[in-house]
């Protein structure tokens, strides 16, 4: 089930890079990011609404490649 309040958009260049996926999984305090078996990025949908808008994922990736969308705006 997608988030009711928050969506996360990640550019393919980041999502397909196992190193970036690992980094995102580490920095997110509410476990929105995980890695698939092949190391690529997985979004944990049930945790999307737990996003605290801490921006740690945005800061950890190249500018503009990760976007947090507030669905209530």
């Amino acid at each position: 089930m997608p988030g009711m309040f928050i969506d996360v958009q990640v550019d393919a260049t980041v999502a397909k890079d196992p190193a970036m996926a690992k980094k995102l999984a580490e920095v997110c305090p509410v476990n929105i990011y995980a890695q698939n078996e092949d190391g690529t990025l997985a979004i944990v949908e049930k945790n999307l609404d737990e996003c605290t808008l801490c921006d740690l994922c945005i800061n950890a990736s190249p500018p503009g490649t990760v976007r947090i969308v507030k669905l209530y705006e």
């Binding site: 309040f5 609404d49 737990e50 605290t52 808008l53 507030k70 209530y72 705006e73």
Partner: protein, 399 residues
């Protein structure tokens, strides 16, 4: 968390404190069997989480096993201060020469444990302290540095006890002090502590309270004593609604949301935090509102925790609307609570704008929170509306 007398005594027995022969009976037949095993006169005592058993008629003496069985039937239905009897403790009746009192509790002002001892046990200690202050000693001791028996000795001797009695009492009282510290108790009491005609001492009744916060540290002891995690040991037993609330709270370690106390009104309360909840509950009642529950959210609960609490309250029969209110928040976030509550309403099949009577949580991240509330059409207010006024608005919508 209060222990039953038989649990307190089981703990004392583990620590080698002197106890009379006894057995727990859960039927008249068992009472009869235990009495026969003990042989001779026995006392039957209701196992209930309240004082005042004697006055309520829940303590009886029997000379023969058949009489014990009859007394069992009389005792079991008696409520003592509203508390139900769990079982009956059948104990040998001992001829008592003198009764003493020993208890350890916390002195919140001195911030250390205090040992209270009296050579006038068996009766209300407050009364003894008032009428015979020279027979009551109060001795504070360290919870940081090792304790030794001399503290117990000094406390006992201060009431005028000397001779053989002093020397026999000292190790018992000292052990009580050690038990108090070992299990994070908030009360360890023996009353009466009896001296028999032959000079021996026996613990006749005991009362133990363990700090709720320390239950996790003493899981093994509690399991050994048969005290399950679902037993809250509050002034009344937890209702199924309250047990479900505790489950909601325990399911997620982030923040507090879920611990509820059930009332029978129609206005569900999603309120916080500790002090804010007390304030808001008073305010709802002052406006003539009928709360369906008390609860506390705080410590920045997760969205899912706030959601589950909301669903639980909305599922309670008779709840028509919920009021979501807190004091100006610092660590709990307005937007996180708003998300959780709205999601809870929707998952419960209700429209947030219909079922939320008022949302009054100003403070941390209120800008984001208010955007969410506006989007879903929820009636919300900021800090310019006082907690008291917000409660009044919620109550007005119930009429």
């Amino acid at each position: 968390m209060r222990f039953y007398e038989y649990e307190s005594k089981a703990l004392f027995r583990r620590h080698g404190m002197p106890l009379g022969k006894s057995g727990l009976a859960k039927s008249a037949d068992e009472a009869k069997r235990v009495a026969a095993e003990i042989g001779g006169p026995v006392v039957l005592k209701s196992q209930v989480l309240s004082g005042g058993r004697m006055k309520a008629g829940a303590v009886k003496f029997a000379d023969a096993p058949d009489e014990a069985a009859r007394h069992y039937e009389t005792i079991v239905p008696i409520l003592v201060n509203g508390q139900k009897c769990r079982a009956v403790l059948v104990e040998e009746k001992t001829p008592v020469a003198q009764e003493y009192f020993a208890a350890i509790t916390w002195d919140g002002r001195r911030k250390c444990p205090v040992l209270v001892f009296s050579d006038m046990g068996g009766i209300d200690i407050e009364e003894v302290a008032e009428k015979h202050p020279e027979h009551v000693s109060k001795t504070h001791f360290s919870s940081l540095f090792p304790i030794t028996p001399r503290i117990a000795k000094e406390a006992i001797a201060a009431t005028g006890v000397t001779g053989d009695a002093l020397n026999r009492l000292t190790p018992i009282v000292f052990e009580l002090m050690r038990v108090f510290l070992a299990y994070d108790l908030t009360l360890a009491e023996i009353n009466p502590l009896a001296r028999l005609a032959d000079g021996r001492f026996v613990v006749l009744d005991g009362h133990i309270d363990m700090e709720a916060e320390a239950r996790g540290k003493h899981k093994k002891l509690l399991a050994d004593l048969g005290i399950g995690p679902e037993e809250t040991r509050q002034a009344r037993e937890a209702t199924p609604f309250e047990i479900k609330g505790a489950e909601v709270n325990a399911a997620d370690h982030r923040g507090v949301a879920g611990n509820v106390v059930e009332f029978d009104g129609n206005l569900g309360l999603v309120i916080g935090a500790g002090g804010g909840s007390l304030t808001l509950f008073d305010a709802v009642r002052k406006h003539g509102g009928k709360p369906a529950n008390y609860c506390e959210i705080g410590g920045n609960p997760s969205v899912s925790k706030a959601k589950e609490l909301t669903k639980l309250i909305l599922s309670k029969p008779g709840v028509e609307k919920i009021a979501v209110m807190m004091n100006v928040v610092s660590n709990t976030r307005v937007d996180i609570v708003a998300r959780g509550v709205i999601k809870g309403c929707i998952e419960a099949g209700k429209k947030p704008s219909d079922v939320i009577a008022i949302f009054r949580i100003p403070g941390a991240w209120e800008g984001e929170g208010f955007k969410i509330l506006a989007k879903y059409g929820v009636d919300y207010c900021d800090r310019s509306v006082s907690m008291y006024e917000a409660a009044g608005r919620a109550v007005a919508k119930m009429k």
